[in-house]
């Protein structure tokens, strides 16, 4: 079977400024893929082009084999969308909202199942304007998966969620993945991307900096190890791919006793990510 999402040479500019620049992606069916990047990186723009909401200026895009700009109702029925910001809160209870939108789908998930899955059972009778921000976000997610989509787009699904709700959301995504749903989510959080995604793309200023499994992200940057120490010349810090050789040299210059403040750091995933972003500035 062909890939779920294929993006080739995607470009989009606003007022002559490229906000998505030559993006290439292939997302396999059943894969969970994270688009990780800072504010203004072009995540929402990219995702909304894939959802068929925005026009692109360049490139080829298919989602489930169809160009989103020409997606019809049958295509939409297979694509679930949780946007970054969704409508004004309607004056309905959570249950009324879910019951209403069930009418738009051929085989909607049951309202009770959805309430359980997103942890809103206790809030089922609460009017949406009275929900907390995080509860509203969970309702958005419930509405996005109500129609049992094959491909699910989630634009910053966990922004505003407390740590427990975030974990609960992660469990929901894990379940959907196990059921074979292809997922593309955007996030600011590296730990989220690393936890959920099979592969992560790092995007900044509209360009993809790296596409890899969480373990392999920033492979070259990760090789750079930081060594710190102090001598009579003051504090030193070097970044090296051969830390052992560096440490040997230091030890050679201090044949006895302790080397003051000696430390060797392997960069964390977070450090690698931040280093990547720095390189684009």
């Amino acid at each position: 079977m062909d890939a779920a999402i294929v993006v080739r040479g995607l470009g989009k500019s606003y007022a002559g400024q490229a906000v998505v620049d030559d993006v290439e992606l292939t997302i396999e069916r059943g894969e969970c893929f994270a688009l990780l990047g800072p504010n203004g990186a072009g995540k929402t723009t990219t995702v909304e082009i894939l959802e068929g909401f925005r026009h692109r200026d360049a490139g080829e895009v298919t989602v489930l084999g169809i160009d989103p700009a020409r997606g019809d109702r049958n295509w939409r029925a297979q694509v679930g969308v949780v946007g970054q910001s969704v409508g004004a809160p309607l004056d309905l209870s959570v249950r009324e909202m879910l019951d209403h939108f069930a009418a738009y789908h051929a085989q909607p998930r049951s309202t009770d199942d959805l309430l359980t899955a997103v942890g809103l059972t206790d809030a089922a009778r609460t009017r949406i304007p009275n929900l907390s921000g995080g509860q509203r976000r969970r309702l958005d997610v419930a509405l996005g998966v109500q129609g049992r989509p094959e491909v699910l787009f989630l634009d910053e699904p966990t922004t505003g969620l407390d740590p427990a709700a975030r974990r609960q959301f992660w469990a929901l995504i894990t379940n959907l993945r196990a059921a074979g749903t292809t997922i593309l989510l955007t996030t600011h959080y590296l730990d989220e991307a690393a936890h959920l995604a099979d592969r992560v793309a790092v995007i900044a200023r509209g360009r993809l900096l790296d596409v890899a499994t969480p373990d392999a992200l920033g492979r070259t940057l990760r090789l750079a190890v930081t060594v710190r120490w102090t001598d009579e010349g003051g504090r030193h810090e070097v970044s090296t791919r051969t830390p052992t050789a560096t440490v040997r040299e230091i030890l050679a210059s201090v044949p006895t006793g302790e080397v003051p403040d000696l430390a060797v750091y392997r960069p964390s995933l977070e450090d690698v990510y931040l280093a990547m972003l720095e390189h684009t500035e």
Binding site: R54, N74, G87, A103, Y104, H105, E150
Partner: protein
């Protein structure tokens, strides 16, 4: 892993669900409910009290003449003005984007709006007529034929107001300024169409402008339902012009639907 995708539900079923939703949402917004019911009744109270004993040409009391005008205006506000503002707002706040994401057929969305407008217009007209009849002793349509005239004029007027409302919501760069733009258009049309003043006494150029839009025909049609038959001699053309009324209103509906179906947008920018 995947099942064969089943076909999405028919537009009519979604339209039914939307009709129910729109009605629930409408009645949960007190400001909207009060405005749409109180406005025509309030206007009736003010104008009928001020011009209590005045008559207009043809031996008709001002109250009677004004009832026709305010009934027409109520329909126009509940359809044209309410939808023009509402749809622009829903496009702006992303509510329409949500519907687009679900593949909602535009016709299902329109059905919901139409149901809400027709229901509120009906309730609004009933309350207006009750006040006019029992508080101001204004006579009602005299027989079944006149009630039928009232009904078809009201329905065609409401439908033409709706398509105009959808169309005006499509004007570029609207959104937050929609209220002002739409309400201004509605106000000017009311003055030009003989709602507050006797139509035949307006300057000819105003009457010509008004004749292009539905409200003048809606108002005239309402007069033909409420006023005695002899009053038609005081009309500019000397008759009620039912044929023209139906033709102009239907033309607006047909052309408006074609325009809306072609250029309806779920989102304001891309």
């Amino acid at each position: 892993m995947t099942t064969t995708p089943s076909t999405p539900p028919p537009a009519l079923r979604i339209g039914r669900a939307r009709a129910k939703l729109e009605l629930i949402l409408f009645f949960r917004e007190p400001a909207q409910v009060i405005f749409s019911f109180a406005y025509p009744v309030l206007m009736m109270l003010i104008f009928a009290s001020v011009f209590r004993n005045e008559t207009v040409a043809g031996g008709v009391t001002y109250k009677q003449y004004f009832l026709a005008g305010i009934a027409a205006t109520g329909i126009m506000l509940a359809s044209f003005q309410a939808l023009g503002i509402r749809i622009a707002l829903e496009r702006d706040n992303g509510e329409l984007g949500r519907l687009q994401a679900l593949g909602t057929p535009p016709v299902a969305y329109f059905l919901g709006k139409a149901a809400q407008v027709l229901a509120t217009s009906t309730l609004q007209l009933i309350s207006l007529l009750l006040v006019a009849r029992f508080a101001f002793d204004v006579s009602m349509p005299i027989d079944t034929a006149h009630w039928l005239t009232f009904a078809w004029v009201a329905v065609l007027g409401s439908l033409s107001g709706m398509v105009l409302g959808v169309a005006v919501s499509l004007l570029p760069h609207q959104g937050r300024s929609a209220d002002t733009v739409v309400a201004s258009i509605a106000l000017v049309l009311q003055f030009f169409s003989g709602v507050f003043f006797v139509f035949s006494r307006l300057p000819a150029w105003m009457r010509d402008v008004a004749a292009v839009f539905p409200l003048k025909w809606l108002t005239q049609g309402m007069r033909s339902a409420f006023l005695p038959d002899a009053a038609k001699h005081a009309e500019v053309s000397g008759s009620w012009q039912h044929g023209w009324t139906a033709a102009v209103l239907v033309a607006w509906i047909v052309v408006g639907l074609a325009v809306c179906a072609r250029s309806f947008r779920w989102r304001s920018s891309d």
